[in-house]
């Protein structure tokens, strides 16, 4: 974790900009890579990926998400209420 690049990528989610990030996994062979995850938009990125996938400044605009929009995404398939509730009983 002494690589300054890794510290940089771990500060903010490249996709949605949230700071709700944690270390999801580390390479089974120690010290090769770290996998980071954002708990807001569920994006994951590896410390060894091309910069556009791990650097918030270089993440492609087309794929960026806004945290406030996530609750409005369409739900599929529709959630079926349990029988008792649906039947009003």
């Amino acid at each position: 974790m002494s690589d300054p690049d890794l510290d940089l990528t771990a500060r903010m989610c490249p996709r949605c900009g949230a700071t709700t990030i944690d270390t999801r996994a580390t390479s089974p062979v120690a010290g090769v890579w770290i996998l980071f995850a954002c708990s807001t938009c569920l994006y994951v990125w590896r410390s060894t990926e091309p910069e556009e996938n791990r650097d918030p400044d270089r993440y492609p605009t087309a794929f960026r998400l806004v945290p406030q929009d996530l609750a409005d995404l369409p739900i599929l398939p529709a959630i079926q209420p349990p029988r008792g509730q649906a039947d009003g009983g």
Binding site: R24, P50, L70, I75
Partner: protein, 474 residues
């Protein structure tokens, strides 16, 4: 036909046939794996499968890609000669498909039971997970068979479902699943949610090549993929039951057991999808994994999905064409073959004998009205029986000389289309087109179709002889 008990046996045959490339140099998970698989698709229609055995950060991980990704590999999966042309592969697939139901057999033990992980399941340790395309939201299991039963009819094997759905890895033991209402597993989930229960699922990854094709075939709700695999193989298909009574392929590398969580939907995607566009994000169901079983040194199998053609186009090729053919030829026995290879059948080419003027257009309409056609067939090209619909050079010849656009092109407005078709307006609705590229016949007599060229005498004889001599040259 030649059958394969598991993925390893198939890989051994691919290697023996010069259709497996082994990469032993160290590679990165990103972007190397996706890039190499994408490049294989660009190198033509005879590309080998590729196996990586030195993956940065893992000790013994092995990843295979492009296992079905060429006509030779697809032919070998069907137990045919590697040089079989697509039209022969179509007929081979149809012959098996129309034998439904075949048999399946439950056995007690399988190699995938060798190692079992029940405590602290961590998929990141167990699988070399990686991103395929730069805009993908994460890592996906995209070539695994998800198995579920109908909780309202749990003992009915015919409504057990085996399907390939994209599964996004969202945590050490958490997956997202793309299941739209049309999918059989969505029916099972709806029944479970009505009961207020989670839906048990088993996910088999790294299977024999036939069941992967079955998982990709749009079958009826009450058709079991294992019975179809048995029909195609001509011998019983082997499965093993999990504790929850879910049948999984004997020849799997990994088996994940878990539950689709009732009432939960969560952010999923995007994923680069088969039409050549990213899927966008939705809130889809969630699966929690309770147990992972796997073979020793398991092989992780994935499919690269990109702008066509890639491996997924072979997985959706004959598996799409055969059901359309079976439905259309039941009404029109004059139909000789259906090519629905293009983007899961958004374009369909059908060859038919014609009985009278206008007949070919009716065949085109019937293609639009098949179950799969309702959501996919957008452009239907109808050609004569003596044109091979799988040979686009022949199809283009037919369009070149047989089509008079003001008589032969029909545009039908406002029909249903898969929401993944980016041309829909609004999404899910599109106009459809039938191009009648058959020779006009009475009473629709027009044009000047006097003397069509045939081939010199003995051409067929020479073709057989030369094909064999050319094969010997290699």
């Amino acid at each position: 036909m030649r059958t394969y008990q598991d993925l390893r046996e198939f890989l051994a045959v691919l290697e023996q046939q010069g259709q497996l490339l082994r990469i032993t140099d160290e590679v990165s998970l990103e972007p190397d794996l996706g890039a190499a698989a994408c490049a294989l698709g660009q190198l033509g229609e005879a590309s080998p499968a590729i196996q990586f055995s030195n993956i940065a950060g893992y000790r013994n991980a092995r990843v295979v890609l492009n296992v079905h990704g060429s006509w030779p590999n697809h032919a070998l999966a069907l137990g045919m000669d590697r040089d079989s042309p697509p039209r022969d592969q179509f007929h081979r697939f149809v012959d098996g498909y129309t034998q439904y139901p075949g048999e399946f057999r439950r056995v007690k033990d399988a190699p995938w039971q060798e190692i079992v992980v029940e405590d602290d399941v961590n998929l990141y340790d167990l699988m070399p997970l990686f991103r395929l395309n730069r805009g993908d939201g994460g890592h996906f299991l995209d070539k695994a068979c998800a198995v579920s039963r109908d909780p309202d009819d749990p003992d009915n094997d015919n409504v057990e479902n085996v399907g390939i759905y994209r599964l996004q890895v969202k945590g050490p033991n958490r997956l997202g699943i793309l299941a739209v209402p049309q999918h059989d597993i969505a029916i099972h989930l709806a029944h479970a949610e009505r009961r207020g229960e989670d839906l048990p699922v088993a996910i088999a990854l790294g299977t024999d090549p036939i069941v992967t094709l079955m998982g990709a075939t749009p079958m009826l709700y009450d058709q079991l993929e294992y019975r179809m695999a048995g029909a195609l193989q001509g011998e019983p298909y082997q499965v093993v039951s999990t504790e929850n009574g879910l049948d999984v392929p004997w020849g799997s590398e990994y088996v994940l057991e878990g539950r689709m969580l009732a009432g939960q939907r969560e952010l999923e995607g995007p994923f680069g999808e088969f039409p050549g566009y990213y899927s966008g994000c939705h809130r889809y169901p969630v699966i929690e994994i309770d147990r992972v079983s796997h073979r020793k040194d398991p092989i992780y199998d994935a499919v690269y999905v990109g702008r066509p053609w890639t491996e997924i186009d072979y997985l959706q090729a004959m598996t799409t064409s055969a059901p359309i053919y079976a439905q259309v030829s039941a009404d029109f026995p004059e139909v000789s073959a259906v090519n629905a290879l293009y983007t899961h059948g958004l374009v369909v080419v059908v060859s038919t004998k014609t009985r009278y003027g206008g007949f070919a257009k009716a065949v085109g309409l019937r293609v639009l009205a098949t179950r799969h056609g309702l959501g996919y067939a957008k452009v239907v090209i109808v050609v004569d029986d003596n044109v091979d619909p799988f040979d686009l050079k022949q199809v283009m010849w037919a369009i070149s000389v047989k089509v008079n656009p003001d008589r032969d092109v029909m545009i039908l407005p406002n029909l249903s289309i898969n929401p993944l078709d980016p041309a829909g307006q609004p999404t899910g609705v599109a106009a459809k087109m039938i191009i009648d590229a058959t020779t006009p016949i009475a009473p629709d007599l027009r044009g000047d179709y006097g003397q069509e060229l045939d081939t010199p005498q003995r051409t067929d004889e020479w073709r057989t002889r030369l094909a064999s001599l050319i094969k010997d040259l290699r």
